[in-house]
């Protein structure tokens, strides 16, 4: 890292060897099921349980899908509780929207990069209140004023009489105390855990095969199923010849539903072989002629409409009436999530109950979809959540649970429904395709007027209907309606147009991905037409956002911005305030004569407020950037005859080890409220790379993914 006093140092990221050893004893329960409450336990709220051995169990409302929240949220709890960190455990919360709803979403969900932001206050409040009860219990035991007691490392201490009591010995007395209200929170200056590097709780078992994901669930007697869904969205099963499949060893049952066929076997191999041996005739239905061209022609046509006004400041029409207006149109493709853990859900239907094992970002929705699929009341459905082998928004949907329940209803005993990678890619809920029109007028090198129109899916209209008001999807205009640049007159419109033949959904960075790409690409084009350096041009419009200015200054310094590069190499910048974090990225790339892009270096500077577990911030940005670069270089779902054409990693490619350049992340020391970080890097990487290509070749790409044919040297004029 660096010696810059405004940045966190390397030691602050990785900590000391001693602290690494100190935490290895930690343990995340391997099974999805929570341990039953001990007889003598103090559970003053839904998040915390302390047993008579002093073990603190944090019941996490947010799920662990790699982003590190089991550790960072547990740190927030342990901080205000003054717990002994070596005695902290984490459990998955059960489905219970009342107890475990996400305050920023209103539902029990892990998404939108907001776990820390949403629970920053409530979790610390719950923990401070719990601590106050323990102090009160000790003070009562000792007959001393509570104000004379302090807490440290899982103990209440009375200094004057040199007495201490472990939290474990106080659980019964603490349980009898009425929790006080409005307990003050710690002064951040006194934090012992928050802001200091802590090793993750979930990772040791991920090095030795012990970590359990949904796909690893093996309830006794479980059979394995795999499925074929109608290749065309909305299509139906016509006729099935299963005679060859039935004859295969290990195949136990063929389940034929309205819209899918599943083969149940002793193991996945039998299920897969069985599925391949089926002869299924599908009735494609009304989407059988959908193609990528149709989706784009409809979206482009729709983009000519006026959109619903999401934001209006000043009078952009008056400014545009004064003369030259620059206009550009940007397009983003449909994208698949492709979590490394293929979709799966294990369900056991009995006459009186339904038990479910899976990994999901939406516990209560899984419970609801299972109830619907198995046709039972929700109260009969138990869901065991697991570690998620990637989420990225795919597991904000519960379609896989609904399908699994309908299949399991036909099967005696538990059945694990595992999707093949091909089904996973072809039946995703895709990141929407977007068409964006930007227009701006420059006046003496400054932006005087700006118009931004987004056309595409309204994911929230389906996923959280109350959030969709007056034709505006807040996610669709996220990072556009709140553009950081100081522009006196601007207007942002949203134009809902749902594509035929595909479902669309959230994806890592969804709305901001599109908007930051369009805005930051256009900013580079405007800077060029104003004859200004791209960083200087942005900075001049950010006097009211000093945190982003500081990130730009730091990334400029660290990236070698402005130093000479060989021919056909370039640096590109992007800046954003998405997810409550202030982020600037510089990508350096080389474009060869055939138009192939090689990544050379990525530098990011971020002010994400007070860091909880600093190294997790760096890790999320590194990963988020690679996720975005992958999409920019390769990501594209296409359709022909209503069918998704991609199917596995050979035709839906990922960046690999040999293609990933050095990535530096610089975290700015900050005492502001924590921001979100999981999706921020993804949004920033795409325009930074696009602008690096612009600098290297002069070609202003306006569509993703990158089309190397447009970048070949012969194309250049």
């Amino acid at each position: 890292m660096s010696e810059n006093p405004t940045e966190l140092t390397r030691r602050e990221f990785f900590g000391l060897t001693a602290s690494a050893v100190f935490v290895y004893g930690f343990h995340v329960p391997a099974s999805g099921a929570g341990e039953p409450a001990k007889d003598a336990a103090f559970a003053p709220n839904a998040f915390i349980r302390i047993d008579d051995q002093g073990t603190v169990t944090f019941i996490s409302p947010q799920v662990e899908m790699g982003q590190g929240v089991y550790t960072s949220l547990a740190m927030m709890v342990a901080e205000e509780l003054d717990a002994n960190w070596s005695k902290v455990r984490v459990e998955h919360a059960p489905p219970n929207a009342k107890l475990y709803f996400n305050p920023m979403l209103g539902v029990q969900a892990t998404g939108n990069s907001n776990s820390i932001r949403a629970f920053w206050k409530p979790l610390r409040q719950a923990s401070a209140t719990t601590r106050a009860c323990l102090v009160e219990a000790a003070a009562g035991t000792w007959k001393v004023p509570a104000a004379e007691c302090r807490t440290q490392e899982g103990k209440v201490i009375h200094d004057r009489t040199q007495r201490t009591l472990d939290y474990g010995s106080l659980v019964t007395a603490a349980a009898a105390i009425t929790p006080p209200k409005d307990v003050p929170l710690k002064d951040p200056a006194t934090f012992r855990l928050i802001g200091h590097p802590v090793k993750r709780l979930d990772t040791p078992d991920k090095t030795n095969g012990r970590a359990k994901y949904g796909i690893d669930a093996r309830p006794p007697g479980v059979r394995i199923a795999t499925l074929a869904k109608s290749p065309v969205l909305g299509g139906k099963v016509g006729r099935v010849d299963d005679s060859r499949a039935r004859a295969l060893p290990g195949v136990r049952q063929i389940v034929v539903l309205d819209d899918l066929v599943a083969v149940v076997g002793d193991h996945m191999w039998a299920a897969k072989q069985g599925l391949a041996a089926l002869d299924i005739a599908w009735n494609d239905g009304s989407n059988g002629a959908v193609s990528t061209d149709l989706i784009w022609s409809r979206l482009r046509e729709a983009s000519k409409r006026d959109g619903a006004v999401a934001k209006e400041v000043g009078r952009v029409s008056d400014v545009f009436a004064q003369g030259d207006v620059a206009t550009a149109e940007y397009e983003m493709p449909l994208l698949a999530h492709v979590t490394m853990e293929p979709l799966n859900c294990t369900v056991h239907v009995t006459p009186t109950s339904v038990e479910v094992w899976t990994g999901t970002q939406v516990m209560t929705r899984v419970q609801g979809e299972i109830a619907k699929g198995a046709n039972v009341p929700e109260s009969q459905v138990t869901v065991h959540n697991h570690l998620l082998g990637g989420g990225f928004g795919r597991r904000l949907e519960a379609d896989m649970a609904y399908d699994a329940a309908r299949i399991a209803k036909q099967v005696k005993g538990p059945v694990k429904v595992v999707w093949t990678r091909e089904e996973d890619i072809r039946h995703d809920y895709y990141r929407p395709a977007y068409h964006t029109i930007l227009a701006a007028r420059l006046d003496r090198g400054r932006i005087a007027g700006w118009k931004h129109k987004v056309s595409g899916s309204a994911v929230l209209a389906r996923w959280l209907p109350p959030a969709f008001q007056k034709g505006v999807d807040p996610d669709g205009v996220d990072s556009a309606a709140d553009i950081p640049y100081d522009i006196p007159n601007y207007r942002v419109e949203f134009n809902r147009e749902e594509p035929p033949g595909v479902n669309t959904a959230f994806w890592r960075g969804v709305g901001p991905n599109n908007n930051v790409f369009a805005i930051e690409s256009f900013m580079d084009e405007l800077a060029r037409s104003a004859g200004q350096d791209p960083i200087a041009f942005r900075r001049a419009h950010l006097d009211k956002v000093p945190r982003l200015q500081a990130a730009l200054d730091l990334v400029k310094q660290r990236s070698g911005w402005g130093t000479p590069l060989p021919q056909r190499c370039g640096r590109g910048v992007s800046a954003q305030t998405s997810f409550g974090s202030f982020l600037a990225t510089v990508v350096e790339c080389e474009v060869d004569e055939a138009g192939e892009v090689r990544l050379k270096r990525v530098t990011t500077a971020v002010d994400t407020g007070l860091p909880v577990n600093p190294d997790t911030i760096a890790a999320q940005l590194q990963g988020g950037l690679i996720f975005g670069l992958t999409a920019a270089l390769y990501g594209q779902i296409t359709l022909k005859d209503g069918r998704v054409e991609q199917s596995n990693f050979h035709d839906y490619q990922m960046l690999r080890m040999n293609q990933v350049p050095p990535i530096e992340v610089h975290v700015i020391r900050s005492a502001e409220l924590p921001g979100g970080i999981g999706e921020a890097g993804t949004a920033s990487a795409v325009p930074a790379l696009r602008n690096a290509i612009y600098a290297a070749t002069g070609v202003a790409l306006r569509r993703m993914p990158i089309d190397s044919k447009l970048l070949a040297k012969t194309v250049r004029t």
Partner: protein, 151 residues
């Protein structure tokens, strides 16, 4: 019955001969540390060692294994390089969702078993078959070098 040598133990399984080792491990023997990612040897999540060599178990028919010694993520920590790799993975906080990491650790260990001090190019060549969707590649590279430096 097919006899296999898995992590130093003889295991007999009654499965079709063309069944890939991956499903024998996961669905028959309950060893779920080895992961399914693609089924086409494209992603490396299912990597195990066959006589010390990294192979993709999703495309390796169980009948082709014979007497070869199979090592999986569950026991790779008992080997010197496996233990070093696991420790380096934790020291540098490589892991995010972790789903691909069994395969990454198996590939990295096999690399160090044949190459004590791999260069960046060696790491690229040995690890390019293992996809990580969380984007932990920079840390994997650093952790391999850390493990190699342990000597």
């Amino acid at each position: 019955m097919i006899a296999l040598n898995i992590n130093g133990q003889r295991r007999e399984v009654d499965v079709p001969p063309d069944m890939p080792l991956l499903w024998v491990l996961r669905d028959v023997l309950g060893m779920t540390g080895t992961k399914f990612g693609c089924g086409m040897a494209l992603c490396g999540a299912c990597t195990v060692h066959l006589d010390g060599q990294a192979i993709r178990s999703c495309m390796t028919p169980v009948s082709a294994i014979g007497q070869a010694k199979i090592t999986t993520i569950e026991s790779v920590g008992a080997t010197p390089n496996g233990a070093k790799v696991q420790k380096a993975w934790l020291d540098l906080e490589v892991i995010q969702c972790g789903y691909c990491q069994s395969g990454q650790i198996m590939s990295a260990t096999a690399l160090l078993d044949t190459n004590r001090h791999p260069s960046d190019a060696d790491i690229d060549a040995a690890m390019a078959g293992n996809i990580c969707r969380c984007g932990t590649y920079p840390r994997i590279r650093e952790a391999i070098k850390r493990a190699a430096a342990e000597g």
